[in-house]
Symmetry: T
Subunit: 145 residues, 12 copies
Amino acid sequence: MKILLLQGANMVALGKRQPELYGTTTAAELDALLLKEAKTLGVDLDIRYTNVEGEAIDWIYEADNSGVDGLLFNPAGFVYAGYALRDCLKAVSLPRIEVHMTNLESRGMQSVTATASDGMIMGLGIDSYVHGLRALTYLIKTRRA
Amino acid sequence: MKILLLQGANMVALGKRQPELYGTTTAAELDALLLKEAKTLGVDLDIRYTNVEGEAIDWIYEADNSGVDGLLFNPAGFVYAGYALRDCLKAVSLPRIEVHMTNLESRGMQSVTATASDGMIMGLGIDSYVHGLRALTYLIKTRRA
Amino acid sequence: MKILLLQGANMVALGKRQPELYGTTTAAELDALLLKEAKTLGVDLDIRYTNVEGEAIDWIYEADNSGVDGLLFNPAGFVYAGYALRDCLKAVSLPRIEVHMTNLESRGMQSVTATASDGMIMGLGIDSYVHGLRALTYLIKTRRA
Amino acid sequence: MKILLLQGANMVALGKRQPELYGTTTAAELDALLLKEAKTLGVDLDIRYTNVEGEAIDWIYEADNSGVDGLLFNPAGFVYAGYALRDCLKAVSLPRIEVHMTNLESRGMQSVTATASDGMIMGLGIDSYVHGLRALTYLIKTRRA
Amino acid sequence: MKILLLQGANMVALGKRQPELYGTTTAAELDALLLKEAKTLGVDLDIRYTNVEGEAIDWIYEADNSGVDGLLFNPAGFVYAGYALRDCLKAVSLPRIEVHMTNLESRGMQSVTATASDGMIMGLGIDSYVHGLRALTYLIKTRRA
Amino acid sequence: MKILLLQGANMVALGKRQPELYGTTTAAELDALLLKEAKTLGVDLDIRYTNVEGEAIDWIYEADNSGVDGLLFNPAGFVYAGYALRDCLKAVSLPRIEVHMTNLESRGMQSVTATASDGMIMGLGIDSYVHGLRALTYLIKTRRA
Amino acid sequence: MKILLLQGANMVALGKRQPELYGTTTAAELDALLLKEAKTLGVDLDIRYTNVEGEAIDWIYEADNSGVDGLLFNPAGFVYAGYALRDCLKAVSLPRIEVHMTNLESRGMQSVTATASDGMIMGLGIDSYVHGLRALTYLIKTRRA
Amino acid sequence: MKILLLQGANMVALGKRQPELYGTTTAAELDALLLKEAKTLGVDLDIRYTNVEGEAIDWIYEADNSGVDGLLFNPAGFVYAGYALRDCLKAVSLPRIEVHMTNLESRGMQSVTATASDGMIMGLGIDSYVHGLRALTYLIKTRRA
Amino acid sequence: MKILLLQGANMVALGKRQPELYGTTTAAELDALLLKEAKTLGVDLDIRYTNVEGEAIDWIYEADNSGVDGLLFNPAGFVYAGYALRDCLKAVSLPRIEVHMTNLESRGMQSVTATASDGMIMGLGIDSYVHGLRALTYLIKTRRA
Amino acid sequence: MKILLLQGANMVALGKRQPELYGTTTAAELDALLLKEAKTLGVDLDIRYTNVEGEAIDWIYEADNSGVDGLLFNPAGFVYAGYALRDCLKAVSLPRIEVHMTNLESRGMQSVTATASDGMIMGLGIDSYVHGLRALTYLIKTRRA
Amino acid sequence: MKILLLQGANMVALGKRQPELYGTTTAAELDALLLKEAKTLGVDLDIRYTNVEGEAIDWIYEADNSGVDGLLFNPAGFVYAGYALRDCLKAVSLPRIEVHMTNLESRGMQSVTATASDGMIMGLGIDSYVHGLRALTYLIKTRRA
Amino acid sequence: MKILLLQGANMVALGKRQPELYGTTTAAELDALLLKEAKTLGVDLDIRYTNVEGEAIDWIYEADNSGVDGLLFNPAGFVYAGYALRDCLKAVSLPRIEVHMTNLESRGMQSVTATASDGMIMGLGIDSYVHGLRALTYLIKTRRA
């Protein structure tokens, strides 16, 4: 099972950026943690970071055309105006789960990509990714069945 | 570990109510499924349903005063105007996770209790409860550590 | 034919409450008048009053599960924030007509339950109930045919 | 007892226009049905259709000046911007009831003429007219007494 | 002179709930303080707490029908969506004063029951109750004179 | 000097319509008064009433093409949605003054035709017309000079 | 092939009205140009102007009932509040294209009839009509095939 | 007959300030013109300018207490936020007319004092004052009669 | 104990101004009543009226610099746009209570200075001042303790 | 004549993406069709796709600096937040026509780039491009003349 | 070169007022610092403080009439509702720069006088004044050249 | 001292783009002017232009990680929807000043990045950059001290 994890704008600065919101775990440490979890789940996990919305769109079409089974993504900085990203998600049939480290709603924010997500997990810090990966694996299996 | 699962207004009709949104699993079947999952996780799970917001508030204070370790809840019908419920959640220190069977944001809705939740999981049907129970157990352990 | 008439918050004070809006007929007098009309129509009419929204919801599910044929209701005080009541109405298949003694629209108000009503009759004082009962009887027969 | 039934913009196309909303009964069939009902009620019913808001206003003043006892009307296409029609209604003392075939509120619409109506009946298809005619007859008698 | 003090949703948690806003005086301590103040003023004070809006409405009608002279109330959690409570207040003739421990306006909030209150006292912590009790006693005497 | 006075929707009912707002002078009495004033000012005054916005537009183009020197008008019922009338006014070069018997602004209303008027006079009852006729005469002379 | 071209409020003044927006080609010149173009396309073109929205509605129903193949229309002055016209368009099955001489959107305007149009062409001056006629002819043929 | 003409904030700069809107007649020239017109009308006219809203309020109370018969005023710079001035106007019984040199409505502005004015005249440049003075004289006489 | 009572715009007209809202007690009578109450409380009360917001600001800084112990104030006409007054209040450390004779919230208004008040008392007519003076004395003593 | 056709975000997925809205013609098939049409019109057509808004901006400046005669563009995914693209269009003098396959207005959407377009053609599926290419060619010639 | 520095409402309290926002430098210390800087720049600097908006307006007209070369101003407390001040600024031709110690935009505020300013400098504490003085001197020289 | 100057979308067209707003100085000329000024200030200035928001974000992280001392930036086309850029700015500790050639506020616009800027300078044309560079140098030195 192949899964693409897409990290949106500013995620590259994880660990240094607003640690009172996002904690001190760095992007590299998160990657290691998730790759280990993926191994346990029998998942081939491809992790990518970008600050350019159009590049995220390119990668999603590429994944959709090359046999990837599911998409885990944190729109991050694209959460405010990523309408093109949202339309892209609507154009592909990949099972997808959107994750956020903080509880967006409790911060009075709304994700513009949410209308194109199957499910959302948020507010649990880096555990949002762990639970997201598990839930996505589960969802892919359910859809196949 | 003791966990209270609170089911808000109209959840009692699960399985019969708008099945195109909420599926055909009944409340009784969901309870059975979750009690089994709880057993696996070593959790003593107390499931309660109410259509009266004030009763939900009574139960949360009762839980907070009697050694319950965490709260899993679906505000359901209280999602629109449950401001008193939200203030109650802010008044207690219980770890809590809010779950929804549908992706609220993709339906253009917002949960008024979300600002008082630690985390949210939504859009995965009855699996939202399963992942919610696991994530809450995880969160309680993390907080204790 | 069995019909439930549900009177929402503050209807118990009918006749004493804001008589310039609602007249001086009391709740008891209205009940007598409607039971007489019901007899003429061959309807078994069950009239209930509550100030608790969740109790109204309980009663509707109970009616839906016990062979009641239709629901006549005045949301009254639930007209402003009765979203849970509205979702409950959407969850049941009972033919239902919403009545108001005053013309809500001409008072600049909107009923949040209206989106879950089959029909509405308003602005005719206590005659709104009389016409409502007749129209509901008619609607139940039409649906059966 | 003389009653004017005024049919607003697009009602002339009844039966052919959006049958999923308005059914397949034609304007001519509705007229026949109402004239028969009027006969039973001892009412002299004058039915008129117009697509021109100003013409509707002309007819209402004419009715008010020539001994008509009440007005039944479906603003139809004037429901959105018929402010002049609304002011006209406020200018006359005719008892009047507004009818709509669909439940406007459940479609997220509001009638601008509603603030000048004595009562409203909606959501019951062509039966909205039947109940409207009965309720108006009743209202005229009550006012006389 | 008989006065009913009604404490709305979440007031039962006073002293433990958000102490940075509401202080550490508990509900029991506040009751003792107010009963003592009532004694000094020659007032028979009945203090009640509820988390259920409909129960608050029941109690107000009961007070209005049984010779209570005035109502002191803190809508608390009903401040956001207590429209039915507001309509209830409009239905009774009891002199009433609304109190809040915090200055609602300075927190950017509005009380929906305020349109049905004679007077409001807010922002003085538990002293809001003390001054409210005195002002209500004063108001009842003035109205009698 | 030729002037067209255009009376919009519902002005025909002047004197009978909402006399607490518009007084008891009838349309006929107002015409007589204005024709007399016109004589004094040496003005050939053509007064027209219509409830049909499009007819008002026809008359304005006709006036513009046949040597009329100025337009006095009360949009009346067209005040809310008379956008087509407004565009018509923008299309012609006739000096024009808009009059209202009541002070629109103090009633919380705005005239949609106002953006196409040279001047406005309002709030002076039927004297709004008298001052309007004088001011328009003055304006025409000024433009000629 | 028979096509009705409907010109809405104020189009009769084309060429004289706000030439900085609409140019100096008159209505008569436009008609000549379009009739010539129609001849080339083998279209029997019926051009009508009206300032009365209800009359436009009458003509559309008439066209729909008498074998006209398509409708080209410029709502012009009905663009702001022509909701009845919009509902009329929804009621008929005629292929229709809406044209505007100016770019409505760049002027911050929205056409209320647009939700009932098959296509829109705007911003090209009188060429909007020429392209509209060609596109409509094309659309009719496509639908037939 | 004594009349106070109150010129609000920035009127002192008339003639130099935004001449494309307000022309080149200076404050002194306007005063001379109005004093001459007042003489003709038999009016004792007191003209005052102030940039301080509170001073305008002081003067109005002073006028109301010292036998002034009417108030002509241009709120000018107080048009946006002069709520205290508006409340002052509501507190006195002086006949009053508000004037503006430009057509406020056509500039998309609203005068906050308008809700406390008997009448308004605007859009006629300095003639707004001349017509205002005449209309006020007329109004005072009418009220006396 | 020295207290400054600040009366905002239009309070000078108390007793004559809108008596249906503010009663017939004059400013002088209110002053006498409050000075007597102050004597009883052992308070040196300085009462000032102004219609100029900036003057109110001057006085507050003066009081803050000269040993005044507390501020009682009715913003009155400054309630709508007194943002500078609000910032001034935030700049000083004086205990302060805001009073209103009417219940602002029940009139659909909000005080812009409220965000800078310690407490608010409103809706009790001139008794709002009496209770305000007592509560302020109480608050000053509490803060000292 | 050289024309640049710019295809915005997600157009690369044409034919596979939401076929119920955009049909099944692929991007490659559309290109072939348009290049053939361009040949007929004697146009040298350069077609480019991008998901990155900034890249679209780069290409437009490049076209403006290298002798391209006109711009045909479908902002597609940039339609929601492409403000930078809009400012870029305002910065160049290229004749430009914006096309959309669906009728944006009838879908309740607005294109942020529309205020910088000369003309718009929408709602005609892939024919929007064909008519757009013809209209642009026509516009370029007209501007040259 | 003569420059007027105008300090709006509450600036007189600088150094004592909300030091977490505005620092502890007092008004007197700021004046000394700026007069020294002015000397270096060869500027004759006149510094004035007022809490009364109308007085600020008086001073600006006085400056404009008496040879002052430029205006540096901090509207401070007038930032919210200083519309009359804004109109005054529009009435004079003085080069002017608006300064704020804090970054207004980052605090979610907007200055109503900004539409009448040539330039704005904000967010740099008392250095905003220093840079403002330099930029204004620069601007005056540039305009002269 | 090393400073990065970041020029946002469309700045590359400076001098040719909307010269009535931005003047005729080209990007190259501005660079020369600023490099000369930087030399005088002893600053090593790196100037970069991009139309791609994500590239701007990349550069800021790169600067933050490589010893750059401060950031001067004009978001330009990113001013409307550059939320990701704003979050990036919040993630780094670089002193930063935002500049605009025009006075954004006086054009009714707001910069979304402003909430992440230390200071803003706007409305002074290319001098905004010169003053911005000086102020940033000053700010860096102050912070170091």
